[in-house]
């Protein structure tokens, strides 16, 4: 009983450590985003595309936040007291950091594209150069990370691809059909880009959860 209480106490402390690291890494980013939103809110140019910009920014912020959270998990390993969990975080450190880098790069690219373009905050040439560099960086990081995945994660990644493609076909496809027939406005390029990243991201989370990748250690 005493051992159980001690273990629970340690686990609870470790949860707080992880939470503190996650908050510590995310707060500056959220503060920056809040400041940018208030600053950009004064200009009309960025909001020309309406929902497309909001959608792209939300997708970008979610990607960056999850990336920072993954990096925070790795950074917290030194301060976790449950030895097995700390060892697991250290062991998976490279994969966590590569995944975090890919998410941050993809998210930053979406945020940048939301404010880039003709007559927008970021000139098109700068937007193009940085967005291409960030997208290529995300792809390279994902490819390098894939090489270190074990079979469960490879299968979860494959499943996430199927899910993303299904949603993309269903939602993007339906939208395109309705737009083609004149019922709704056509999705913009920013909508398509946001859908690609959003569905890949959601597919990855759901496929990993279905395979129990987020389950705590048992036994």
């Amino acid at each position: 009983m005493g051992k159980m209480a001690a273990r629970t106490g340690t686990t609870s402390r470790d949860d707080w450590v992880r939470f503190a690291f996650t908050l510590g890494m995310n707060l500056p980013f959220w503060a920056l985003m809040l400041w940018a939103t208030i600053a950009i809110g004064r200009t009309d140019a960025v909001w020309a595309d309406g929902t497309a910009v909001v959608f792209a920014v939300v997708v970008g912020v979610l990607h960056v936040s999850f990336g920072l959270t993954a990096a925070a998990q790795r950074a917290s390993a030194r301060f976790i007291r449950v030895a097995e969990e700390a060892e697991e975080l250290r062991h998976e450190g490279r994969g966590l950091l590569l995944g975090a880098g890919a998410l941050v790069a993809a998210g930053s690219s979406m945020i940048l594209l939301a404010v880039a373009g003709p007559d927008r905050l970021v000139p098109p040439v700068v937007g193009l150069t940085v967005a291409v560099l960030l997208t290529v960086a995300a792809m390279i990081l994902v490819t390098v990370r894939r090489r270190g995945l074990d079979e469960l994660r490879r299968i979860a990644e494959r499943d996430s691809g199927y899910l993303a493609f299904q949603w993309f076909s269903l939602i993007g496809g339906s939208w395109a059909i309705l737009a083609h027939l004149g019922f709704v406005a056509a999705p913009t390029q920013l909508h398509w880009l946001s859908m690609i990243w959003a569905f890949s991201f959601a597919g990855g989370i759901i496929a990993a959860a279905r395979k129990g990748a987020f389950d705590p250690p048992g036994g």
Binding site: E84, E87, E88, E92, D150, E151, L152, R153, I155, R210, K211, G212, A213, D215, P217, G218, G219
Partner: protein, 69 residues
């Protein structure tokens, strides 16, 4: 597919992390197999069989029977 991986692992006194390390997979893979969320590949099932020194059908139980000819 039902399996007895947890019983064999606990019989050796190993944690999920320890078994994962010995098999060269992630702890999540062991957890997913034990909770029947994932059936391992044949190479991994064979590695488990060798590690515990028992045939694969002792660890993984399948009720399927061939039709009588």
């Amino acid at each position: 597919m039902v399996n007895r991986l947890k019983q064999y692992r606990e019989g050796k006194g190993w944690s999920q992390g320890e078994l994962a390390r010995r098999l060269g997979v992630s702890r999540q893979t062991i957890n997913a197999v034990e909770t029947d969320k994932y059936d391992p590949s044949l190479p991994l099932a064979l590695r488990m069989s060798k590690l515990f020194g028992v045939p694969v059908p002792e660890i993984f139980i399948d009720d399927w029977k061939p039709e009588a000819e």
